[in-house]
C-alpha cells in the first residue's frame, strides 16, 4: 500500500513548480503611471485599460561599451521574420542609399525603398527583397526593420521580373491620367529594383 510512499515524499520535498501559478502576480512593466492615476480619478469603477508597453519586454539601456553583436527585429504584417536575433551586420536599402548597420551604429530613423536587405551572420548571408517600410537603429545596438512585404531572394523568378518590367514600361507609355502614370512608375521602380537585385 505504501510502496510508492517514499517516492511521493521525496518528490514532494524536492518538487519545484516548472511554471508559476495562474494567480501569481506577474511582474508588470508600468509605463505611464500618471495615466493610471488620472484614470482612477475620473473613472474609479473601471480598471484602467492596458497600454501596448505592458505587452512588450522592455529594451535594455544603452551599454557603456559597444556589444559585439547587433540585435535585429525584422517584422512583416503577417509574420516576424527575425525577432531578437543577434547578427554581425545588416545592410538596409534606405532611400538615401544602401546603409550598413554594425553594432554601435548611431541612432537612426531611415525610410526604406524597394531593394535588398542582407543579414550577415558569420559567413552566412541571408538576402531578402523588401518592398519598402522603415528601419530604426537604436543607440543600444538594436535594429528594428519593418517592411510591408519581404521575400527571400532565391524565391523570385527572373523571367516574371523581366515580363513585369516590359508590361509596366508599356503601361507607362500608354498611360493617360496622372494616377495611371504614377502606378506604372511604381511598377517600373519595383521591377527594376528586383532586376538589379537579381543580376547584381
Amino acid at each position: 500500500m505504501f510502496r510508492h510512499g517514499s517516492r511521493f515524499l521525496a518528490r514532494a520535498t524536492t518538487m519545484t513548480w516548472r511554471r508559476p501559478f495562474a494567480t501569481d502576480l506577474q511582474a508588470e512593466y508600468v509605463a505611464d503611471s500618471s495615466f493610471a492615476e488620472a484614470w482612477k480619478k475620473v473613472v474609479p469603477n473601471v480598471d484602467p485599460p492596458k497600454t501596448p508597453s505592458a505587452f512588450m519586454s522592455p529594451r535594455p539601456a544603452t551599454p557603456s561599451s559597444i556589444p559585439s553583436k547587433l540585435t535585429v527585429n525584422f517584422v512583416l504584417p503577417y509574420t516576424s521574420e527575425l525577432s531578437g536575433k543577434e547578427v554581425d551586420m545588416v545592410i538596409i536599402p534606405a532611400t538615401t542609399g544602401q546603409m550598413g548597420v554594425l553594432p554601435g551604429h548611431v541612432a537612426t530613423i531611415a525610410e526604406l525603398k524597394p531593394g535588398i536587405l542582407s543579414v550577415h551572420e558569420g559567413n552566412d548571408v541571408n538576402k531578402y527583397f523588401v518592398s519598402g517600410g522603415f528601419a530604426f537603429v537604436h543607440a543600444n545596438s538594436f535594429a528594428d526593420i519593418i517592411a510591408i512585404e519581404a521575400v527571400p531572394l532565391d524565391r523570385i523568378d527572373p523571367n516574371l521580373v523581366q515580363k513585369g518590367l516590359t508590361d509596366f514600361t508599356q503601361k507607362l507609355n500608354t498611360a493617360s491620367t496622372d494616377v495611371e502614370k504614377a502606378e506604372a512608375q511604381i511598377g517600373i521602380d519595383v521591377h527594376s529594383a528586383l532586376n538589379a537585385a537579381l543580376t547584381g
Binding site: 509605463a31 505611464d32 500618471s34 495615466f35 488620472a38 484614470w39 475620473v42 473613472v43 473601471v46 485599460p49 492596458k50 497600454t51 501596448p52 508597453s53 505587452f55 512588450m56 529594451r59 527585429n73 517584422v75 512583416l76 504584417p77 503577417y78 509574420t79 516576424s80 525577432s83 534606405a94 532611400t95 538615401t96 546603409m99 548611431v106 541612432a107 537612426t108 530613423i109 531611415a110 525610410e111 517600410g133 522603415f134 530604426f136 537604436h138 543607440a139 538594436f142 528594428d144 526593420i145 519593418i146 510591408i148 512585404e149
Partner: protein
C-alpha cells in the same frame, strides 16, 4: 345590455382558465406540481412541456453549431493575430507609449464587432471609449469618435451622436489583411492600410487613441488603448524634451525634411497599430463567442434535463391517476 351580460358570463367561465398573471400560467405549465392541475386539461401540460423541450433542444443545436463555427474561425485568426504582434513593437520602442499625453484634438477609435452574442467585448470597448472621452474632455478640447463595427455604433449613437465622426462596418465579412495580397483570384481582402488611410484623410487629430480588446486566451481579453500622435505633436514633444525627448537623438534619413519623415512614420505607425488592433479584436470576438456559446449550450442542456424530469414525472402521475381510476371503477362494479 345583453352584450354586457354575455361578457360577464364569459368572464365567469374563463376565470379558472385565465389567471391574472400570464407569467404564472406559463410557469404552471412547466411545473404543474406547484399549482393545482385543472380538471379536464390533464394532458395539456405535458403537451406544453414537450413543445418547450423541443424548442430548447433546437436552441441547443444552434448554439452548439455557433460554437463550432467560432472555434474554427478562432483557430484561423488567432495565428494571424499572434503573427502580427511583432509589427507594432518597434514603434512603441521608438515613439514610446503615451496614453497620458494632453492634446487638444483627441480622436478615439473604437473597435468592436459587427455581430453580437459574443460576451461583453463590445460593451467593454464602448465603456473604455466613453471613459477615455471623459478623461480627455475639458475646456477648449475636442473629442471625436471613429467607430469600427456595428455594435459599438449602436451603443454610441444613443448618447454621443454628435461626436461620431466616421463609422466603418462590415469588417468581418472578408478576411482582414494589411495590403492586397490575394493569391486566390476572387478572394476579397479587407485592407487595413486603406482603412487607416481613410481615417487619416477624413479626421483631424492630435492624438488617435485606438481602443480594442487584446486577445489573451479564449476566456480572457484585456481592454487596451494604443496611442498614436500626429506628426506635429511628435515634433513638438521631441523638441521640448517631453515624453519623446529621446527622439531628437535620432538621425533622420529619407525625405528632405524631418516633418515629412515623421508624417510618413506616424501614418505607418497608425496603420500597423490598427492592423494589430483589428486582428486582436476579431480574435477576442471569436474567443468570446466560443465561450459564450459553450456556456449557453451547457445551460440549454441543464434546462433540458430539468424539463425532461418534469415531463416524465407529470406523465407518470397521470398514468397513476388513470390506473387508480380504472381500478377503483372496477372494484366499485365488483362490489
Amino acid at each position: 345590455m345583453a352584450m354586457a351580460a354575455l361578457r360577464r358570463e364569459g368572464r365567469r367561465f374563463a376565470t379558472p382558465l385565465i389567471s391574472p398573471n400570464p407569467a404564472t400560467v406559463f410557469r404552471s405549465s412547466i411545473i404543474p406540481s406547484e399549482e393545482p392541475v385543472l380538471s379536464g386539461v390533464r394532458c395539456i401540460s405535458t403537451q406544453v412541456v414537450r413543445n418547450r423541450m423541443k424548442s430548447v433542444k433546437n436552441i441547443q443545436k444552434i448554439t452548439k453549431a455557433m460554437k463550432m463555427v467560432a472555434a474554427s474561425k478562432l483557430r484561423a485568426i488567432q495565428t494571424r493575430a499572434e503573427n502580427s504582434r511583432g509589427l507594432w513593437q518597434p514603434f512603441t520602442a521608438l515613439l514610446g507609449d503615451t496614453p497620458s499625453i494632453d492634446v487638444k484634438k483627441n480622436v478615439i477609435v473604437t473597435i468592436s464587432a459587427d455581430k453580437g452574442l459574443c460576451g461583453g467585448i463590445n460593451s467593454t470597448s464602448v465603456k473604455i471609449s466613453r471613459a477615455m472621452h471623459k478623461l480627455n474632455s475639458g475646456p477648449d478640447k475636442e473629442n471625436k469618435y471613429v467607430v469600427l463595427g456595428e455594435k459599438a455604433k449602436a451603443q454610441l449613437v444613443r448618447d454621443s451622436k454628435k461626436d461620431i465622426e466616421l463609422v466603418m462596418t462590415e469588417l468581418q465579412k472578408n478576411p482582414l489583411n494589411y495590403t492586397q495580397r490575394s493569391l486566390v483570384a476572387g478572394v476579397k481582402w479587407v485592407m487595413v492600410s486603406v482603412m487607416a488611410d481613410d481615417i487619416l484623410k477624413n479626421v483631424e487629430f492630435d492624438a488617435l487613441r485606438i481602443v480594442y480588446n487584446k486577445f489573451q486566451s479564449v476566456v480572457s481579453f484585456l481592454p487596451t488603448v494604443s496611442t498614436v500622435l500626429s506628426p506635429e505633436v511628435v515634433e513638438r514633444e521631441a523638441e521640448s524634451g517631453g515624453k519623446l525627448g529621446d527622439l531628437d537623438l535620432y538621425e533622420i534619413e529619407g525625405a528632405e525634411t524631418k516633418g515629412e519623415v515623421l508624417q510618413n512614420l506616424t501614418e505607418f505607425q497608425f496603420s500597423c497599430m490598427m492592423y494589430n488592433a483589428v486582428l486582436e479584436n476579431a480574435t477576442s470576438e471569436q474567443g468570446a463567442r466560443m465561450s459564450a456559446m459553450d456556456s449557453s449550450s451547457r445551460n440549454a442542456g441543464d434546462m433540458l434535463d430539468r424539463l425532461t424530469l418534469t415531463y416524465n414525472r407529470t406523465r407518470q402521475a397521470s398514468i397513476t391517476t388513470e390506473l387508480i381510476e380504472i381500478i377503483s371503477g372496477a372494484s366499485a362494479l365488483e362490489g
